[in-house]
């Protein structure tokens, strides 16, 4: 009783790979490619050690280089501890965060790995730990067990060989899925199951949870040696649950990390936000600046040494130095200036980002009560990008709509039902037709009830509930049962329906499954009794109409489809075909072959299905309503006002999509808006209409809402021939509706927008949106009814579309603002101390002496200046209400107005000015007899600390108690720490701070430094806020002066236009001028 499992190498080439189980061996399996199999690999995803270092990138190597250079005592200005210390602290902080995550993961892995599982060995059932299951073992599961690894089902308690699994943990779909044993395993008794031998030939592990193209062969004497195809419906996948089956058993085919769920866990590529890349650019600029400074000072130092230094006898310069002597001074300056690039910035930003993510996770107002899902940020590093989103690409079904399907209308043999009251189920005409057994209506209802993959589940009290993978199918079956056509029982081979009290039985022969390419599904059934073979089809109108039997008049149906789409209803076309027995038999064989093929199976099946689905007699059209989600129109309006282009990408029909677009404010009706349709029958037509749309888009007046519509076929042609003009159109257009999109095309559109430099956000709820979500800069998943696939792939998951406005306008915007401040401030404080060192070098013979001692320098970077800046993560420039009221303000963060070279120049200038103020005042106040090195350095350091506190305070918009405590607590801590340090005799700073604190002139100097440093900043800021206020300033003022919402409602008209003016102006100049906002550079004072 051996089952050997073969993994065939890539692209299903089984031939040489098939190995047979070893009959004589005592183990139950022979694993074919024997790999090292460590126990804890069962559930622990492999950790990539590089991942941690990746995020540190170049900057770390830089710091490491500096730290190594510092070990050379000739050139180091301060003790190496100044770099090694912070480096160690930063490393410890990050590493302990990682370690904590790892530990938690370890605990949960351990729990999973040590679960007891029943395994059949030598025909005996015994319990083993989950981690001891090997490929080829036969695993025995009981009802409600979690499946420990990927299994091929070989036996169940059900005589039909069916069992049910709940796959919610895997794909989030809450319905039950039917799993069926492969045909060759049918009729095996539980005893036989323990003894079978065979080979399972399966592809290499992958993460496709909808596909398992494998073969199984059992060895004699059990059955004939025939290959049996395996599909996903023969599998039990890891982390699903077995339901409604007493027991089931299967052969383990993938274990550990090779399971479908293990493979799909893979770590996402780290995304880099545009704010991050801006910071990187600025870092490079500062690095270049640093090199220039080092070269200039190094040269000056060498010149001074030769012209003056050698004359200073007390320096005792040797007449001949070593060959590298000319390098010593530049290298010293390199080390001295290395602090220009703040060592703490990465850690500070990482911490800040994880706080933003926590804020999102905890947001009360993004908690969806209906499904009880909180918002979640799976990716903690990209919150800033939310605030800079330019394009939102949204799925329609389940994202904009509720994905709660309700059967509303139908059209059966040219009669429209449900037109009067909007509900066909209450249409008297239809009810009468049902009770009078109108043959067309009965057929129609039969297709509704039969042609699906719905599973009826009978509860104890006799009521039937339906579990379906597709919401449409569920709606249809429910509607049918309301119209007395009840689907009562179903198993893998037979269906029972009950119409008007009498029962009908059908043998279920084949299911021609739905795929997004085919856009239809069919089943073949045999009517028990009459023995008639029937093909029942349902699908999109354009997939069914061309296959209707010649001669049938379909004009009414087309009109009905048109009309229903105009109402925003989803339509399905139902059809019927009688089959000849011979025709079916012949086809069935082909179908069997196609299903067994390992290579290109999907296409082959589609081809075979195609050959049967012809001459369909169309029965009618169903129209299903998919209601808009709560708050969608308002949200879209708000987002569009915020200057975000919203595109709708849907697999649905153009008319339906346009109707939904109108309903949810995406497009404006004719008088104010214009819809440019890009379509055509030939390539030329399509390209011509594209050019026309481009011309209209370019020449139209600004206030008009323009949108374009195109469908999948057109997009395909455009992408092939005219990508450039389409990109131009995409840049111009704020709204677009793209229908009939395949998942790949959705991702392509995202790619086009991304490649033109726009920041894209993709939002969707279903598996078909995963690719676009992963492609986009920011992926948002709705944890909706179509499952969790999208939510799992996404960076953020929310319960409802309406939360998107809060995610972007509140969290994204604040995150961006805060990051902009934190990063620039980090540079500011580093530059400040560095400029002071540089200024000091001019009075120390350009010799590279450090004014500050090692302890102060280290503490400055790590303690004194890191805490105050963290307070900004609590800061809000304007309140959430105001932001939501004036969404235009998002343009500021969207256009990157708070973090760009120009604002950075402001900070740069400020740090230079502050360095000059601190240094010159210190040097003059502590001149002559007071000019002791230690004292002077402490005065300068205190000056910096004072300025820090005031800079943070001035740039804080709203003070909350943590901010006040952190900023001023840190300030007090500086004095406490230094007073403590000054009583330690062995330190250079011994007694320095104590002495200074007793001198009135010290405090007077501090006040002078603060006033000189902050006075001009304050004055410039005031002048700008009053005479040239930015929109943010105006909103702050409005917020302050009119605390009541009613008051500023009244003013909305006037201030709104002004703001509009400001904001449109902003937008126009988006790329050309960067207006500094946070900081004052001289250029922006007027």
């Amino acid at each position: 009783m051996n089952i050997a499992v073969c993994s065939s190498e890539s692209s299903y080439e089984p031939a040489g790979e098939v190995l047979q189980g070893n009959d004589g061996a005592s183990t139950l399996l022979t694993r074919i490619k024997d790999e090292e199999w460590s126990d804890d690999r069962l559930n622990v995803p492999e950790r990539n050690p590089d991942r941690y270092f990746d995020s540190w990138r170049v900057m770390n190597q830089y710091f490491l280089l500096i730290a190594c250079l510092q070990l050379w005592s000739t050139i180091t200005p301060v003790s190496p501890a100044t770099t090694w210390g912070p480096l160690a602290i930063i490393f410890i902080v990050s590493a302990s965060k990682e370690a904590w995550d790892d530990y938690n993961r370890y605990l949960s892995d351990k729990k999973a790995n040590e679960r007891r599982i029943w395994v059949v060995k030598d025909g005996v059932r015994r319990q083993v730990k989950a981690q001891e299951i090997h490929v080829g073992n036969i695993v025995w599961l009981h009802e409600n067990d979690e499946i420990p690894c990927d299994l091929v089902l070989i036996g169940t308690s059900d005589p039909q060989g069916i069992c049910y699994v709940e796959t919610a943990a895997l794909d989030g779909e809450t319905d039950l899925k039917t799993r069926i044993i492969p045909s060759i395993c049918a009729n095996l008794s539980p005893e036989q199951l323990g003894k079978i031998k065979g080979v399972v030939e399966c592809p290499n592990p992958d993460n496709d949870i909808r596909r398992f193209d494998a073969n199984m062969r059992l060895f004699p004497p059990t059955t004939d040696n025939e290959k049996c195809p395996l599909t996903i419906s023969n599998t039990l996948l890891q982390s699903c649950y077995l339901r409604y089956s007493e027991w089931a058993c299967g052969v383990a085919v993938y274990t550990g990390n090779e399971t479908k769920s293990g493979m799909s866990r893979g770590t996402a590529e780290p995304k880099l936000t545009s704010a991050d890349s801006m910071i990187d650019k600025l870092t490079v600029a500062i690095f270049v600046f640093q090199i220039v400074v080092v070269l200039v000072l190094g040269l000056a130092g060498n010149i001074w040494k030769n012209s003056h230094g050698r004359k200073q006898w007390y320096l005792m310069y040797p007449p001949e130095g070593p060959w590298y002597e000319f390098l010593v001074i530049p290298l010293r300056f390199e080390l001295l200036c290395s602090i220009m690039i703040p060592i703490s910035i990465k850690v500070t930003l990482d911490l800040a980002k994880s706080v933003y993510a926590k804020f999102i996770d905890c947001d009360d107002q993004m908690f969806d009560w209906e499904t009880s899902t909180p918002a979640h940020s799976a990716n903690t590093a990209i919150s800033e990008d939310l605030g800079q989103v330019e394009y939102i690409l949204s799925d329609k079904t389940g994202t904009l709509t509720e994905n709660k399907m309700i059967f509303r209308r139908c059209c059966i043999s040219d009669t429209l039902y449900g037109d009067n009251n909007g509900d066909a189920l209450k249409d008297v005409g239809l009810l009468n037709a049902v009770s009078s057994n109108d043959p067309n209506v009965v057929k129609f209802l039969m297709v509704m009830a039969l042609c699906n993959t719905v599973v009826p589940i009978k509860s104890n009290d006799g009521t039937i509930s339906y579990k379906a993978q597709s919401q449409d199918e569920e709606a249809l079956v429910n509607a049918a049962s309301n119209l007395n056509m009840v689907l009562t029982n179903k198993d893998s081979s037979s269906v029972e329906i009950c119409f008007n009290g009498s029962k009908f039985y059908y043998e279920l022969l084949d299911v021609l499954e739905f795929t997004s390419d085919r856009k239809r599904m069919s089943i073949v059934v045999k009517e028990i009794g009459s023995g008639k073979f029937l093909l029942l089809s349902k699908g999109a109108d354009e997939a069914i109409f061309p296959r209707s039997c010649p001669g049938q008049e379909i004009k009414t149906y087309q009109e009905a489809v048109e009309m229903y789409s105009h109402l925003g209803l989803r339509t399905l076309c139902l059809g019927w075909r009688d089959l000849e027995e011979g025709e079916y038999k012949e086809w069935s064989k082909k179908f069997q072959d196609a299903s067994c093929s390992l290579d290109n199976r999907e296409n082959k099946i589609a081809e075979v299905c195609h050959s049967l689905e012809k001459d369909i007699h169309i029965l009618g059209i169903t129209a299903i309503e998919d209601r808009l989600q709560d708050g969608v129109p308002e949200t879209i309006k708000l987002l569009r006002n915020a200057g975000i282009s919203v595109w709708m990408l849907t697999g649905d029909k153009q008319n339906t999509a346009i109707q939904i677009g109108l309903l949810c404010n995406l497009i404006t009706p004719e008088s104010n808006g214009q819809l440019l349709s890009i379509n055509g029958k030939t390539e030329d037509d399509i390209l011509r209409s594209l050019d026309k749309a481009l011309v209209v888009m370019k020449t139209s007046p600004e206030r008009k809402d323009l949108a374009f519509v195109l469908d999948g076929c057109a997009l395909e042609i455009i992408l092939k021939h005219s990508l450039e003009s389409f990109t131009r159109l995409a840049m111009l257009s704020t709204t677009a509706i793209c229908c009939r999109m395949t998942p790949l095309q959705k991702a392509q559109l995202v790619g086009i927008l991304k490649s033109s430099g726009s920041l894209t956000l993709a939002i969707g709820d279903g598996g078909n949106d995963v690719r676009m979500i992963q492609e986009a800069n920011v992926g948002v998943g709705i944890s909706g009814r179509e499952g969790l696939q999208a939510a799992r792939a996404a960076d953020y998951s929310i319960g409802k579309f309406k939360f998107l406005k809060r995610l972007i306008l509140v969290h994204g915007r604040y995150s961006y603002n805060r990051t902009a401040f934190i990063s620039q401030y980090s540079f500011y404080k580093s530059l400040l101390i560095c400029f002071i060192q540089i200024l000091f070098s001019f009075s120390s013979g350009v010799s590279g002496t450090s004014l500050f001692n090692s302890i102060s320098l280290m503490a400055y970077n790590v303690f004194y200046t890191s805490l105050p800046v963290m307070t900004i993560i609590f800061d809000k420039d304007i309140s959430e209400t105001t932001v939501l009221q004036y969404p235009q303000i998002l343009l500021y963060s969207q256009a990157g107005r708070l973090l760009n070279p120009s604002t950075f120049a402001g900070w740069f200038g400020r740090s230079l000015y502050h360095a000059l103020a601190v240094f010159l005042i210190t040097v003059h106040a502590y001149a002559d007899e007071k000019s002791d090195m230690e004292e002077l350095s402490m005065v300068a350091l205190s000056g910096c600390i004072w300025l820090q506190a005031f800079v943070v305070t001035l740039d804080t918009n709203s003070f909350t108690y943590p901010q006040i405590i952190l900023v001023w607590g840190n300030f007090v801590a500086f004095y406490v720490i230094n007073l403590i340090l000054s009583v330690v005799p062995s330190l250079q700073m011994h007694n320095v701070m104590l002495r200074l604190c007793n001198q009135p002139s010290y405090w007077i100097t501090m006040a002078l430094i603060v006033t000189v440093g902050m006075g001009p900043v304050l004055a410039l800021r005031y002048l700008r806020k009053v005479f040239q206020p930015s929109a943010i300033d105006v909103l702050q003022q409005i917020e302050q002066t009119n605390r009541h919402i009613e008051t500023y409602r009244n003013m909305e008209s006037s201030s709104g236009t002004y703001l509009d003016h400001l904001l449109t102006d902003l937008r126009r100049n988006k790329d050309s001028i960067h207006q500094p906002l946070l900081s004052e550079s001289l250029a922006c004072s007027r």
């Binding site: 005592s73 003056h308 004359k311 200073q312 006898w313 007390y314 320096l315 310069y317 804020f359 905890c362 947001d363 009360d364 107002q365 908690f367 909180p374 000091f840 120390s844 010799s847 590279g848 002496t849 004014l851 609590f874 040097v923 003059h924 502590y926 001149a927 002559d928 007071k930 000019s931 230690e934 002077l936 709203s958 003070f959 943590p962 005799p985 011994h990 001198q999 009135p1000 002139s1001 007077i1004 006040a1007 002078l1008 006033t1011 000189v1012 006075g1015 304050l1018 004055a1019 806020k1025 009053v1026 005479f1027 105006v1034 702050q1036 302050q1040 002066t1041 009119n1042 006037s1054 236009t1057 002004y1058 003016h1061 102006d1065």
Partner: protein, 343 residues
Amino acid sequence: MSVSGSESEASRRSSKKPKYSKFTQQELPACKPLLTPGIVIGAFSLIGIVFVPIGLASLSASQEIVELVDRYDEECVTASDKIGFIQDTKVNKACTRKITVPKPMKGPIHIYYQLENFYQNHRRYVKSRSDQQLRSKDYKDPKAVIKSCDPEATTGDGSLIVPCGLIAWSLFNDTYAFSVNKKEVQVNKKNIAWASDKNSKFGSDVFPINFQKGGLIGGGNLNDKLPLSEQEDLIVWMRTAALPTFRKLYGRIESDIMASDEITVVIQNNYNTYSFGGTKALVLSTASWIGGKNNFIGIAYVAVGGICLFLAMGFVVLYVIKPRTLGDPSYLSWNKEDAGYSH
């Protein structure tokens, strides 16, 4: 699967809901001060009102200090080859200077020597010392001493110097003898160094060894019999100055000196500032609460205070000429017309 009941379901649901706290919801009570004209004008006026008096007080304190500066390096060497003169150990380098006191000076009068163009902060110089060696006689780790005191750690034959290093080696060694109106005045050289330095940085059991016994003689010599903690001139000298122009305390004259008294100073002009173009000066100064004579603080305070007052007034005038209520719609519409110019 639907068995477990709605109760646990309900609790599971509510447990998913994030806990509400003002902190996580970012709803902490916040104070949002705006830069209103009132606040800004008030702040600047206040700064002006506070700063000007402080400035005037500092200035007057500084003005009351009598400070006499006498640069003597040029006059004390008459020889044309100044460097040769100063390096010649046999020549008598005594030099007499006469200073007339313009204003009465109250004791104690601080005596400083002032050096210019002397880079005590040079990296080569500032690092060349061993604090451990100065602190404790038990510290005899030759390698560490040589490393930190390079290039003046050992004598030619390799024995360690105490105190080692360039700073100690280049000890300032000009001496001054004062007489007021021909009457000799004692210079108090006690307590010229920081008490903390004497107590904990310079050991009372550390005595100079091999000092100035190397090939080159730098500056002054030390009394081998006195422990370092009592060599106050050395302690003062070893507190390196941060700037190339600096003064160091030489001693104090405890008695008062009247106006128009004549002070005669006999200077032993030993220290070589000539080879690098430095200057030497003798400074006599009284002291007040702000320390020595320094007009900078006073002037800066008056100037900054004045500017602040001026700014405050300017803002008031601007406010009167172009009044604008913040967040006022009428102001917004005004700005709307003006916006054309601003861009």
